[in-house]
Symmetry: C2
């Protein structure tokens, strides 16, 4: 047909993720992007279209890599354990994030989604997916008695989603273990079935 690509698309996309993730959309220039990806700007435009399209592909790749794989993996576990492990991982990830890149989905929710219908949809769907994961876990946990039925699975899932986003925001300015673990502790306590809940004040 014609001259073949000289680059591996997944590899250069991974590099684009790294840069956009760290610097955001506006603060990342095509030239910086080209340098990081190891391509010329011409090749970028030829292969992807425009800057927004590169960001879109990078975001999709990020979602698939870090979010998709986590949900798939944790869905195997018993529901209550899945939730605990989820937040464990997020906190460890946040604390070892020395560049304070945070979560690219959350970053996108604030920088690009509000002004762009396409990204509004994409980010909205990811948040929906996360909510669905939590709801699934809570429901299953309520069914097998490992999670409290004091609140609806719908609402508890929403609270968990919000806790996740809150931790992600907090970690970018105050990545302190005590703070992040302190956030999640009462939320997990909320999930405890009444019977097994260790009340702080429980005189005989």
């Amino acid at each position: 047909m014609a001259r073949p690509r000289e680059f591996d698309e997944e590899l250069v996309l991974l590099r684009a993720v790294e840069l956009f993730w760290e610097r955001g959309y506006e603060a990342t220039s095509i030239r910086h992007l080209a340098e990081t990806m190891g391509l010329t700007t011409a090749s970028i435009y030829n292969a992807f279209g425009d800057k927004k399209a590169v960001y879109r592909r990078a975001l999709d790749f990020y979602v698939q890599l870090s979010l998709g794989e986590r949900i798939r993996r944790l869905s195997q576990k018993p529901p209550r354990e899945a939730i605990d492990a989820f937040f464990d991982e997020i906190i460890e990830r946040s604390l070892s994030d020395t560049k304070r890149k945070g979560c690219m989905v959350v970053n996108s929710a604030l920088e690009v989604a509000p002004h762009d219908p396409e990204f509004q949809r994409v980010v909205g769907e990811v948040l929906h997916q996360l909510e669905g994961f939590f709801r699934h876990c809570v429901k299953a946990g309520q069914d097998n008695g490992t999670i409290s039925t004091g609140q609806s699975a719908d609402d508890m899932a929403r609270t968990l989603l919000s806790a996740l986003l809150g931790i992600r925001v907090l970690a970018r300015t105050r990545p302190e273990r005590e703070l992040l673990e302190g956030v999640i502790k009462p939320v997990l306590w909320l999930l405890e079935p009444e019977a097994s809940r260790p009340g702080k004040v429980s005189p005989p």
Copy 2:
């Protein structure tokens, strides 16, 4: 001494807040800023220094206006009511935010704080202040029996702070009442003293 200013500093700062709040730091140009503030770029540089300094002043002004006044006002109320009212206000504010500007502090926490030590400090202090407000409320509520002692005031305050941030993030892509109120419902339930807590399952 010399020629006097032709503009009201508070007024032009308010306009700067509006623009930075809506578009963020990077996506706002000095020219757009000058147009919105009703000044020339020369006047801006003469009065404020550089772009970053304008953003800094705008952020401080925002904090004082929307956050400072809220904390002062709600601190008058009984602690449990203060917390309820706080989230009521945030949710109403988020739902009527047709431009989806969100909270300028949260926006700053993600766009400017991670790469700038000065803003890291400023944003960090604001988050600390919020945490302190919540902690104060929880402690007082625990003392007068209107808030559960099942979790420490420190941790509950952290959870409330995170819920606030989570709602702010969620609202920018999914400003739905059911979602935002669903987030906070289990959190408020968590605050209920054991005695008065309406358990979903409570056979005689």
